[in-house]
Symmetry: C2
Subunit: 354 residues, 2 copies
């Protein structure tokens, strides 16, 4: 199992690398192979007869059977009077390299450069080879796959492929595995709960009053997302108090998992303005009426969440509130914990104990 810290570090390195790859090259510049024009029938999957092909066809065929040595490839290229070139790459801190193709490139030029580059990286004992292809370079995906790459992840505007070329154990870190969502308990001074009816989804059209819920955006804090969703859906301004509980569920979309955080928020505005597109109705509702809904009573999970929230209303419950703390890299991030219970400093505690 890839170490957790190591994964993060590798990812950070890759991110940096993809930013740098077209401004610098830590892999020594090397004059090698490129075929700037010609059509390779094997590669395209169409039988086009073209005299410019013969060398590349043979070369690609050879490389698919056995990569051979880089020196042999270079020599072959020089004999043909063809200039060869490696793909530009930067090294990562885990013995791998990262390639970022951010300009248009002919499919066959790329395939040829990748072929020679892989041979070079193998000779150098590199481990993981990462290729980031912006969507504009989708023509290169099939060539990378043909060269042994697999998908690592994709965002709307790029796909990241990876190829473990070493004999050492594969330590490629996994892709993001979870989506994160929030539900918001918001109560006014009359002891009424802020509830909504949704226009779409499994609860729509059934008269069910539920908590405002929503997905945490990319790069957004849970405590910020809860405030945003309540504002978007109901127009109510709130302050984050604490996470009352959270639930982890699996296989909620494709193979991915889901972390759902039930948050307590303190309102400081009370006039409801519902989101026209997604919310059919919104209101402040007496607790008893919310709890009495079969939808709440018959679902073990909703029942537990209500129990927790009512314990809080009666001031018997402590959830996890937040503190913004610096890491060793001076990056700030929220820590969620039971602040009421954690009172002393570590030094005080150690001194008390000894």
């Amino acid at each position: 199992m890839m170490r957790y810290g190591a994964c993060n570090k590798l990812y950070r390195t890759c991110l940096l690398a993809t930013k740098l790859s077209h401004t610098s090259s830590q892999v020594s510049p090397h004059t090698v192979t490129t075929l700037l024009s010609s059509v390779n029938p094997e590669f395209q999957g169409h039988n086009v007869s073209n005299s410019k092909n013969s060398f590349l066809s043979r070369r690609v065929y050879m490389s698919s059977v056995s990569l051979g040595s880089l020196a042999a490839k270079e020599q072959e290229g020089h004999q043909k009077g063809i200039e060869f070139q490696l793909l530009r790459a930067v090294e990562d801190q885990h013995g791998g390299v990262v390639v970022n193709i951010d300009e248009t490139m002919d499919t066959l030029v790329f395939a040829s450069m990748l072929d020679v580059s892989l041979a070079r990286w193998k000779e150098q004992g590199k481990k993981g080879v990462w290729i980031k292809l912006p969507i504009e370079n989708s023509n290169l995906v099939a060539a990378a796959v043909k060269a042994g790459f697999r998908y690592h992840h994709a965002e709307p505007d790029y796909v990241m492929l990876v190829n473990w070329i070493s004999n050492a154990p594969n330590t490629i870190p996994p892709n993001a595995s979870h989506r994160v969502g929030i539900g918001a308990f918001v109560m006014n001074s009359n002891g009424e709960l802020l509830v909504v009816q949704e226009s779409n989804g499994r609860f729509s059209g059934k008269g069910i009053w539920k908590l405002p819920t929503g997905a945490v955006n990319e790069g957004e804090d849970i405590c910020t997302a809860a405030i945003r969703e309540v504002k978007e859906e109901t127009g109510i301004d709130t302050e984050f108090v604490e996470v009352l509980a959270f639930r982890q569920s699996h296989q909620t979309f494709f193979q991915k998992s889901d972390l759902f955080f039930a948050c307590l928020l303190q309102p400081y505005s009370f006039k409801i303005q519902r989101q026209a597109s997604e919310i059919a109705a919104a209101q402040w509702m007496p607790i008893e009426d919310y709890v009495a809904q079969p939808f709440v009573r018959e679902n073990e999970l909703f029942d537990l969440l209500t129990k927790i929230w009512l314990s809080k209303v009666d001031e018997k419950y402590t959830g996890f509130s937040t503190i913004l703390a610096k890491t060793s890299k001076s990056k700030k991030s929220y820590l969620y914990f039971n602040k009421k219970d954690a009172k002393s400093t570590p030094q005080e505690l150690v001194q008390t104990r000894s």
Copy 2:
């Protein structure tokens, strides 16, 4: 903002759809266009002169300028005596369709079928069109992108593309956004903490003793991952007690975020057998020695976590323990909450209050 529940539902539908797409078709079967062989120079990016091309070239050119009506396309096809065919798809519950290409297909056949299918789906008022391409079909990626699709996500063996073809607001749910990790506090009856030194990563070779940590696997529960990582790294058998705190951080790898759960575990074996590949050393260490490390004292976050854990050691702290609860769909998932504080049932509490 896409509703949270709705997103999950859509994803579930897509998952189902991708499983079904080659066994059933809810989009009405329709005899239409397919070009089973010919080379389109525009599409391949190579100027190959080929007499079979003329019709397809014109058709693709037309479609890239203006899709025109499906009827016109069909008529044109019939005039040429060519059989047309739609891509097989299933409808999702959000007015979209899902296509799963799980057999090899010629790039141009796919491009042509996709073109005609999109025209049909637009006429039908469909919204999101999803295409799942196994890695064996990487030759089709560029054609889908050319037709207006963007990447949604990718796993090692497939890429999922999506195209919002409606004029209604785009409600395509986001991709998984978080990785999840754990750190484990394990203390023996002598008040000693289980600590390790890592072979790789930012803490290696520095003599730093740290908690066992690791990434939560796809589909794995946090409480299970903590037990597994401790066992893997140190050979120690444990029982999960509670989540003491958690931290959310951003931009830890590519654009993704990270949720790190600090877990308390109770050991029931004590003989250490370290993981040779990743752990340089492992031991039971007096609390005072662990806390005294500059690495712990100088990092605000580690300092806070230690403070929380020491509060727990002195029985002053309550974190979130687990209960396995059923949802309305009888799917079981773990809820993490302050069990000590949540004692009554909702009905009891409501009755108490009224």
